[in-house]
Symmetry: C2
Subunit: 339 residues, 2 copies
Amino acid sequence: VTNHNLSSLLTAVREGNARAVGRAISLIENAAPELPTLMRELAPTTGRAMVLGLTGPPGVGKSTTIAALVGAIRKQGQRVGVLAVDPSSPFSGGALLGDRVRMQQHALDNEVLIRSMATRGHLGGLSVAAPAALRVYDAAGCDLVIIETVGVGQAEVEIAGVADCTVMLMAPGAGDGIQAAKAGILEIGDIFVVNKSDREGAHAVVRQLREMIALGQRMDGDWKPPVLSLVATAGEGVSELLAMIGAFRNQAERSGRWQQRRLDRARREVQSLLLENLRQQVSVAQSVEMERLAIAVRDGKLDVHSAVKQLLTDSGAAAPLLKDGVALVKSGSDEVQRT
Amino acid sequence: VTNHNLSSLLTAVREGNARAVGRAISLIENAAPELPTLMRELAPTTGRAMVLGLTGPPGVGKSTTIAALVGAIRKQGQRVGVLAVDPSSPFSGGALLGDRVRMQQHALDNEVLIRSMATRGHLGGLSVAAPAALRVYDAAGCDLVIIETVGVGQAEVEIAGVADCTVMLMAPGAGDGIQAAKAGILEIGDIFVVNKSDREGAHAVVRQLREMIALGQRMDGDWKPPVLSLVATAGEGVSELLAMIGAFRNQAERSGRWQQRRLDRARREVQSLLLENLRQQVSVAQSVEMERLAIAVRDGKLDVHSAVKQLLTDSGAAAPLLKDGVALVKSGSDEVQRT
């Protein structure tokens, strides 16, 4: 990408051109060298889009729900983006392909931007790549961006970290999802939705969720996560869900939680990318010192903790620099340290 | 844990006491303060156990296969450990519970140590916790340690990073596993096993795998990953699998790959824990500088890349220290840098 090309890419992204958005996200996926410039140029035109996280176990109807949401939002005349994040499993490739097929109905709508993103092997994974991709959608004039992950690991926790509002989707009979999931999801969801609510057992799932939420006693402001019913395939309950998302936003903006979450997100982003920079340097480490320590660890002559301690606090001159330097961002320090 | 208790824990671990091994692994899971001491004391008595990684998509019969392998190894009079790693999904809790039930037949055998380990939220995840747990088994006198993960993400790649030999399990009809998996697994498996090979379609799976391996042309020495057939429930093919694992070991030791892999593993461990130390300090960062940058990023006044650049190369005195310090382990440097 030449400077000229980058400049026309930026223009096209700002105009909401779907192909340009796709290309920009490819640059993110590939951690292309022009990425910092791209993100620097896009930054001033971001901050407007609402980011909606949508997650849940496989088979609950996430893509059908998103298709229904997109349809309803388009009727309001808003521009919408969908980012499907592949949680980097070689065994889950099929699901996203299916998603794309189900989203076909919106494929010819210029106001709907759809992209899936692989995070496998990406520097920093979801926590670095997804926020960047969301900014691209934002700069492209989307009013709402929906980010979707399959709930198979860290992904559903990380999605809550990048979203303004997280919708947790459930369905009756989806592999004892609720039982198994109770450990993690209650803290994540801002709105719970039981899809396929025309099926047997749906009412019980709603009741169980309400009980768990009541027991959970979340402590963020006075928002009590509601549990809604949905039949995404028939479009039943979609406008209620949209209204609830709006209600969440209003309440969060009034309470200040909205800006607080966005600050937390920005801080995590800076930390993730800083860490990623450190990680890259550490993982390509080939110094004699590192090699000597690795051999000692392999041969049982040294344990890993002692090896790291030697790297960090060795009496040599270089090592303490690392320690002092990191103190730059150390907890509790009131000022940037100047040694 | 007092010093006295730690010392009796160490003694009990070295004697192969199952409860002590379990307690030591709990200390690892909780990143307990006494962990560095524990690992330092255990280091000299490690390096003997062979680590066998076993992975594959859900439903291929991993736990049945492990139970059969454990039975066969016990007949040879060896001590064996099993570490089941939960890839931290709130939705996968059921699988490991099932594993434990299927392993019941070995529950009363003192020479079989079984433990599952959660890595969710663990500092550094699998890459830091699993090698430590494997060392505990090693110090407890296990001849072989089997580490199992469900193939649902990074886990099956990371398992190959900690194992001396990785067995990739497949089965006919397991959700198009092979098709979907071909991207990643070929580089990971040292031995491929098609379980449930009495079922229809098993022969086709074996043939497909052999073709893919032939096309894949792995470049590590002259080991061509074999494809074995297994009926784990009936014990058919188990002794062939054990013999193949032995053959792999012999060949790897002759070619030097065995020691090379263990060195790579030790290096990764040191790097992971070093990075983890850095990460902890970065993630608790509360400095005024970090907060100022996060606010600027949130408000679209600064992009994340520029924020990190400011942290790393700010003209102040502290920031360059971080950069120089990290250069300690920078690629290509022939010596530890002394500024």
